[in-house]
Symmetry: C2
Subunit: 255 residues, 2 copies
């Protein structure tokens, strides 16, 4: 078995209204089964998710958090606007977004964007993946999957990894339930985070900053499906999440 | 840029004393720069880290935790023996091992092993990676890296991913500090968890259970180094770890 991942070269600076599927299919020959892994930054730019900090009015709460962290209050307000819950306020802001992903700053980015502006995540990354994926299929006639990625930190470990924030025609989680191990026992470890692992693979080639490659093709995975899938299938149910409970405990004891 | 990952076929069932480097180099042609990604299970088996549950005497504490979780008390004792701290006791055991990795059950495995036995992780996976790596270089004359992997769960999300528990001649973390973004700003996101991303890539091909492929070659990464590196470089310092603080808060409020 073999998996390949390669960069799509010659992707220009993306601006609002650009047709990413057309740009990708003009720059690479796609095969049936390929997965196009696309950095959320260029999806957000093509969708016009760029905001001017000075247009955002910070609330009292945003000013309070900004003072703790020496952040720009308008930036804090932008993060709060995208967040269902702020799990950690300081020294970083760890939030659960309305899409259900738990991450720093709700995925809002102030790098790779002009000074004074911020770049939000696509509003519904699963839908963005579907739009780009169906357009790619229309242009190429191939069976394709799409993953939209961001980089997130991890619990207990430093370093960022690529993660899937949107998927199209592939599962976020692969279920191994019912298979047996080498000795015939039923497997207990039954779920593999395949979309995040593919996002991590792509991130190895995406790089950061001005040498970055925002589109990676992953070939050889054989996991495409016609079913509608979503990144939400990997969000741990709130009442089973011990780590969230711990962070809430800390917030209560600090307040 | 292109990355390839492929399985090494014909790896036999591994037993104590087997020379993994010889088995790998007999079954695949390696190139300079290749990274051999090896499942910790076969490293542990070759090192004889197999224990009989009935030889382990559970303490009172182990019996108490076992009763909460309906676990085998001897299994719980084995987990405690490998753990510096038990962050969560129930319904799962989330511990920090003496090697500094935070994971479920200290990485001890009761699948892919005969009934009544458990398989521990290698005692020092960085050292195991070095032993296998230097032997591989001796046998092949190539510059190679080694990653020993396990599968771990994640915070906030379901699903397991491949993670690096030992590295040889490659960094666990790649530092992007000092580089600039597309608009010339200094990058804030400066650390990438490359070893874990490569482990995740390999895990996409390793599979689980009786169809598993315990050795994967990753080619095209260009990140090997002569420096001594360790997975410990990605363990977040205890006093900066808000999630650990939260779990301790929860333990205190429950006790």
């Amino acid at each position: 078995m073999k998996l390949e991942a390669f960069t799509v070269d010659n992707i220009p600076l993306i601006k609002k209204g650009d047709d990413l599927a057309e740009i990708i299919s003009n720059n690479i020959e796609l095969d049936d089964g390929d997965i196009a892994v696309i950095a959320s930054t260029i999806v957000a730019k093509s969708e016009g998710q760029v905001f001017k900090l000075e247009d955002i009015n910070p609330s009292e709460n945003a000013v309070r958090i900004a003072n703790k962290n020496r952040f720009n209050p308008a930036f804090v307000q932008a993060v709060l606007n995208r967040s269902r819950e702020c799990l950690v306020e300081s020294p970083i802001m760890l939030v659960e977004t309305y899409n259900g992903n738990v991450c720093i700053n709700a995925g809002i980015d102030d790098s790779n964007i002009e000074k004074g502006f911020i770049l939000d995540l696509p509003e519904n990354p699963d839908e963005s993946a579907e739009l780009i994926g169906s357009r790619l299929k229309e242009l190429t006639g191939k069976q394709l999957g799409v993953i939209i990625t961001d980089t997130n930190g991890r619990a207990f470990k430093t370093g960022q990894t690529g993660v899937a924030v949107g998927v199209y025609q592939l599962p976020a989680i692969k279920n191994w339930r019912g298979e047996t191990d080498l000795y015939g026992h039923a497997l207990e470890i039954t779920e593999e985070a395949v979309a995040d692992e593919i996002a991590g693979t792509a991130n190895l080639l995406m790089g950061e900053g001005d040498g970055g490659n925002p589109v990676i093709i992953v070939r050889g995975m054989n996991i495409l499906t016609e079913e509608k899938r979503t990144v939400k299938e990997m969000h741990r149910p709130d009442d089973e999440d011990i780590i969230k409970k711990g962070l809430r405990c800390l917030n209560q004891s600090n307040s």
